[in-house]
């Protein structure tokens, strides 16, 4: 089975100039954890995920300070979350995006998800335009269908 048989074709996407706050609200509305970011020419320029928002609002040094537990929410985190309105999607998004073609096998996409540590991969045509998106769930559904068919 190929990616084009399981991917979602009606892809919601974000503009790089959209505010991060609106982007978070769209993620909430769609009940998904990430969306592709597409510029005016229809080209994929990044991926915006919930993780990028958390990386932005939490201090960058928490890992280096070592093990501890937040017993209260620091003021800075609340302030940074409030500032999301003035932050553009392009400032937080991940620019290095893993993509696949429509004719790639499901196992190859699954392998890419595991090795590249991503949950969903945009599907692009030869011109680099996004034609769909494939998630872990789509892969599993495809594999189940394939199993039943066999």
């Amino acid at each position: 089975m190929k990616t084009k048989e399981v991917m979602t074709r009606d892809v919601a996407y974000l503009s790089p100039d959209a505010s991060a706050k609106d982007a978070v609200e769209l993620l909430q509305e769609k009940e998904i954890s990430g969306l592709p970011v597409i510029n005016g020419n229809g080209k994929l320029v990044g991926m915006f995920t919930e993780k990028d928002v958390l990386v932005y609002i939490l201090p960058s040094y928490i890992e280096k300070v070592g093990r501890f537990v937040y017993e209260e929410n620091p003021k800075a985190i609340k302030r940074k979350f409030a500032q999301l309105e003035g932050v553009k999607v392009s400032q937080l998004m991940r620019r290095e995006v893993v993509t696949v073609g429509e004719d790639v096998t499901l196992c190859e996409v699954a392998k890419m998800m595991l090795t590249q540590k991503v949950r969903r991969i945009p599907v692009v045509d030869k011109a680099g335009k996004v034609v769909g998106i494939v998630s872990r769930c789509d892969i599993l559904k495809g594999l189940i269908r394939e199993g039943r068919g066999a």
Binding site: G66, F68, V69, P74
Partner: protein, 460 residues
């Protein structure tokens, strides 16, 4: 980029030709030229420093400037292993919540006022830098400064700069504060006790002077913080902001680290007692402790070695030490040392001043390990001239540490702290905002060291 590369090649070749003209042999001039490529490579192309070190070291071997046996000998494996051991120990401390515990202690200071906060932050920065290393120390001091400044709604920049300056000063106090401390101890035979008796008190004097100066420099910001503290009341949310479970693990980690520090402080006596070569115990103690840590935390042992040890930096150090050793091996530094001593009239006080000020100014733009690695063979060559080396070693240590305060790029601690400030608060510290305060602290502390080394018979 191309311009910088051309400049680097031109300077390195120029130095090679120049030193050939002042009496150096072909091999000696080649060693100077290749070493200068590595030094300038760190200045112009910091991200590519390991590339320059790999290529330079290969060139030294292929041109027969040094043989493999000596290259390995000069790579100072003992210093590298010491640093590996300390990095594993720091990894354990981080993992057990030690650094977060220190942050929580700072946040829990009762009856906090601006003056108390400022002085304590400077003292803790300096002392922690003595016990672990300056880069590790500054990360959690930055965390504490950010939380407190956020809570009281003031700009953290002045407090952060003060903490970094204190960290650099503190890093000169022991052999553990900075890689140059252990490098100098290893090459000079100076012990931890020597550092405690001769470097630590001077460091305290420098710290005291820095705090006074910084309190004056940032008096308006201190007044603003004081006002905010009175306005917003006690730091109650800060007091319960973070906790560090579980306690038992933290206590065990602290016990291991404390025992290591205590044994390091007694290393010279243990070496005498057991008839070992100087600094054998000093250099092996972190290995023993980290070996025990890896036995205790065997499931995480690979993680400590792979994630907590900075192999990129250590590999660079190894090759840099080997290249600097080539200067000694070929006799290049003997010729240069003879010329320099001649110019100074064989006067140790004049040479001390030269080493102190050149290393202070040099380390304000260059990585201090690079600078110290370059100076060590020169100082070793002075020994052949029958000069007393002790003040020169201390001058090199203090110059290498204190010079780092002068510019933004003078030390790794500065770069790390300013990087976090930019990322977290979007505050850009300009070169000159740092330079004026850094230069003032750098000059005053170096003068203190110069006076101590020149006038106290203790150091002669």
């Amino acid at each position: 980029m191309l311009k910088k590369l051309i400049l680097l090649i031109a300077i390195s070749l120029g130095l090679g030709f120049l030193t050939r003209n002042i009496g150096l042999s072909l091999h000696q001039a080649t060693a100077v030229s290749i070493f200068s490529v590595s030094v300038l490579g760190t200045l112009f192309f910091w991200s590519f420093r390991l590339t320059f070190a790999f290529l330079g070291t290969s060139a030294l071997l292929l041109t027969r400037t040094i043989d493999l046996d000596h290259l390995i000998k000069f790579s100072s494996l003992e210093v590298i292993l010491f640093l590996v051991g300390m990095m594993v120990l720091v990894g354990l401390l981080k993992d057990s919540g030690f650094f977060a515990w220190i942050v929580s202690l700072i946040l829990r200071i009762k009856n906090l006022n601006a003056n108390k906060f400022f002085v304590l932050i400077c003292i803790i920065s300096a002392l922690l830098s003595c016990a672990v290393d300056e880069v590790t120390a500054i990360i959690f001091i930055v965390a504490a400064v950010f939380e407190i400044c956020d809570y009281f709604e003031v700009n953290p920049t002045p407090f952060l700069i003060a903490a970094v300056l204190a960290t650099n000063v503190g890093s000169s106090g022991t052999t553990l504060g900075n890689p140059i401390g252990i490098l100098i101890a290893s090459k000079s035979g100076l012990t931890f006790e020597d550092f405690m008796v001769k470097a630590f008190p001077v460091m305290l004097a420098c710290l005291f002077a820095s705090i006074i100066l910084l309190k004056f420099w940032y008096r308006r910001q201190l007044a603003e913080l004081d006002h905010k503290m009175k306005q917003l009341g006690a730091n109650e949310i800060l007091i319960r902001l973070i906790s560090v479970p579980p306690e038992k693990e933290l206590k065990t980690a602290l016990a291991i680290f404390g025992a290591t520090l205590l044994s390091i402080s007694l290393h010279h006596r243990l070496e005498v007692l057991w008839g070992l070569e100087p600094n054998t115990v000093l250099l092996t103690l972190p290995l023993i402790s980290s070996g025990l840590v890896m036995a205790w935390k065997w499931k995480k042992a690979r993680g400590y070695i792979e994630k907590d040890v900075e192999w990129w930096t250590l590999l660079f150090f190894m090759l840099l030490f080997a290249q600097a050793g080539t200067l000694k091996y070929t006799g290049a530094t003997d010729v240069l040392a003879r010329n320099l001593a001649g110019l100074a009239g064989n006067s140790v006080p004049i040479l001390t001043a030269i080493v102190l000020w050149v290393s202070t100014i040099g380390s304000s733009v260059l990585d201090n390990v690079v600078l110290v690695a370059a100076f060590i063979p020169m100082i070793q060559s002075f020994q052949g001239l029958g000069l007393n080396l002790q003040p020169l070693w201390w001058a090199l240590l203090f110059g290498g540490c204190l010079g780092g305060n002068i510019t933004l790029v003078g030390s790794t601690a500065n770069i790390v702290a300013i990087g976090i400030l930019e990322k977290e608060r979007n505050i850009h510290v300009t070169f000159f905002r740092w330079f004026w305060v850094g230069l003032t602290v750098g000059l005053i502390t170096t003068v203190i060291v110069w006076v101590a080394l020149s006038f106290l018979p203790f150091y002669r």
